[in-house]
Subunit: 322 residues, 2 copies
Amino acid sequence: MIAGIDIGGTNTKFGLIDQDGNVLFQDRIKTAVHSKFEDYIHELATAIKAGAQQVAPDTPIRGIGVGAPNANYYRGTIEHAANLQWKGIVPLADILGTHFDAPIVITNDANAAAMGEMVYGNAKGLKDFIVITLGTGLGSGIVCNGQLVHGFDGFAAELGHVIVNPNGRLCGCGRKGCLETYVSATGIKRTVYKMLADHLEMSELRKISFDDLSTRMISEYALKGDKVAKDAFEYTGQVLGSKLADTVAHTNPETIFLFGGLAMAGDLIFEPTRRHLEKNLMTVYREKVKIEPSGLPNQSAPILGAGSLVINHLNYQSQQKV
Amino acid sequence: MIAGIDIGGTNTKFGLIDQDGNVLFQDRIKTAVHSKFEDYIHELATAIKAGAQQVAPDTPIRGIGVGAPNANYYRGTIEHAANLQWKGIVPLADILGTHFDAPIVITNDANAAAMGEMVYGNAKGLKDFIVITLGTGLGSGIVCNGQLVHGFDGFAAELGHVIVNPNGRLCGCGRKGCLETYVSATGIKRTVYKMLADHLEMSELRKISFDDLSTRMISEYALKGDKVAKDAFEYTGQVLGSKLADTVAHTNPETIFLFGGLAMAGDLIFEPTRRHLEKNLMTVYREKVKIEPSGLPNQSAPILGAGSLVINHLNYQSQQKV
C-alpha cells in the first residue's frame, strides 16, 4: 500500500493505493487554512494515518508520492509557488518525513500525471511520450527512454512557457506570449474575449462575464453551433498543434496525451490540434505522432499520479538490488 | 581499441581510438565515388583493417561507432539522406557487420557529437546537456539523465527544424522558417544578403558573391568593424538565443555546447546568443544555463564522437553483466 498526495492551491487530495492501482481510500483537506506549513502537514499526515487505519490497519505504507506546484524532485522542496501561501523554499519531504517511515518522492503535478499515465493509464509500455495538463495553466511531463525528464535543476518540461508570440499575451510568469496564455482554461477564455472584441458575430457568449465563463460553457455553445465558440477551439488547437511540432522535434514522442478540463471538450480540441500538428511536422515525423486523451479517471488521477512516483521509485530500487 | 566512422556527403572520416581517447590512426575516403553501397563499405572496411594492422596488429577492434546523416539508432540504417547518393533505406549496420565481428552502433552525426562531448569533451560528468552543431545546417544531440534522447522512432533532437517564423525563409526540409535557415553557416550568409538588400550601409561584403561568402569571411569583416557583418552575428545570436529559451523549457539542460564552423567565430556568436537566451528565459531558469564551446578538437571530433557511441554501448553492457 502506498499513499498519493496532490497539493493544489485550494485543496489537497490524498489517497491510499494498493499494488494493482485500486484506490482504497480517498479524501481531501483545505490547503489554504494553515499559515504554518508544519500544521498543514500534521493535519495531512493525521488524515492519511486515519485512512490507513480504516481500510487496512495491518498494512504498512511503503512509500509516499507527492505532486505539488513548483516541486523540486532533487531537493524534495516546493520553491516559490505563486499559488500557495507558504513563500520561499518549503522543505516538504523533510517535514513529511517526520511523520512517516517510508521513502517520499516529490515532483510537480504534471510530472506526476505523466508517471501516472505510464503506471496506470494509456502510456503503459510506452518509453517516449508527453503528458500535457490543461487546467488554469498548461503543465507538462516529458518521458524519454522510460524515464521522467527532470533536467539538471529539476525544472524540465515547462511547455506552458514556450513562446508562441514574443509580443503576445501577458503571462503570469512575467513574460509575453507563453503557450499557456493561449492554451489552457484561461487561455481559451481570453481567446473568446479577443474574438468578441475583434469580430461582430452575434454570440450567446456576449451575455457572459469573463469571470463567469468556463471551458464547459464554451464547449456547450460550440456544440450548439456558436461561431465564436467554435472558432475559439479551432484557434486553440492551431496554437497547440503548431507549437507541439517544435516539441516533437525535441524528443520525438510516440504519443502526446492531453489531460484536464480543456481535454474534456473531446473532438472540439483534439481534432484541430491533431490537424495543425500534422500540418506543421517535418516529413520524418508525419503520420507517426498520436495525440490521445489520458487514460486516468479524472477524479483519482492526481492521487494515482502522485502514488505512481513512489511505485516507480520502489521498482527501481528493487531492480538495483538484483 | 575501437573504430569511429563519420559519414559525410563528400568525405568519410574514420579512425582508431584507444581506451584513453587517443586517436591512433585517422584517414578518410571519398563517400561519393561508389554507386553501390556494398563497394563503398568494402573500401571503408579494408582501409580500417589496414590502419589497425599498421598501428596495433595484435589488438582486436572491440566495437565500431558510426555517425551518419539520417542514421537511425534503433534500426542501424541510413534513411532517405538528402546528401548521400544511396537513396531509400540503407542497411548500414548489417552490411558493415559482414566485415567485422564486433558490435556496431549507429546514430546521426549530431548525436555522435553529443556523446563525444560526454566521453571526451567538456560534458564529462554532465547528465543533462545539449550539443548544437553549426555546419551547413544545424544539428543537435540532447542528453537527459545521462542518456542520449533518441525518441520513440530514432529521430529526436532535430532542433534545426523548430520554427522561428512560420512565414520565414524556405528550408531544405520543404517547410518555412526553420531555425537552421537562420542559424548555420548558410543561415548567416542568408542574413548578410538580406541585410545588404534591406539596408544602405557601405560594406566590403557587397563585393563578395553568395557562393564565395564564408562564415570565416563574415567573422573577419565583423572583427574589422563592418556593420553588416556585426549586425549579422547579432541577429544570428538573437534568433538562436531566443529559440534556445524554448529548448530550455523542454529539457532544462545545464549547458548547451556550440560546435562547428559558426562556433569558431567565438564571442561574435557566443556573446549575443548568451544575452538573448538570458533575456528570454523564464525566471526559474535565469543565470543557470551555460552556453559553452565544445571541448573536442575540430579535426578528430567526428571520429571521437562516433567512437564514443560504442564506448558507451560497451560500458553499458558490462554494467548490465554485473
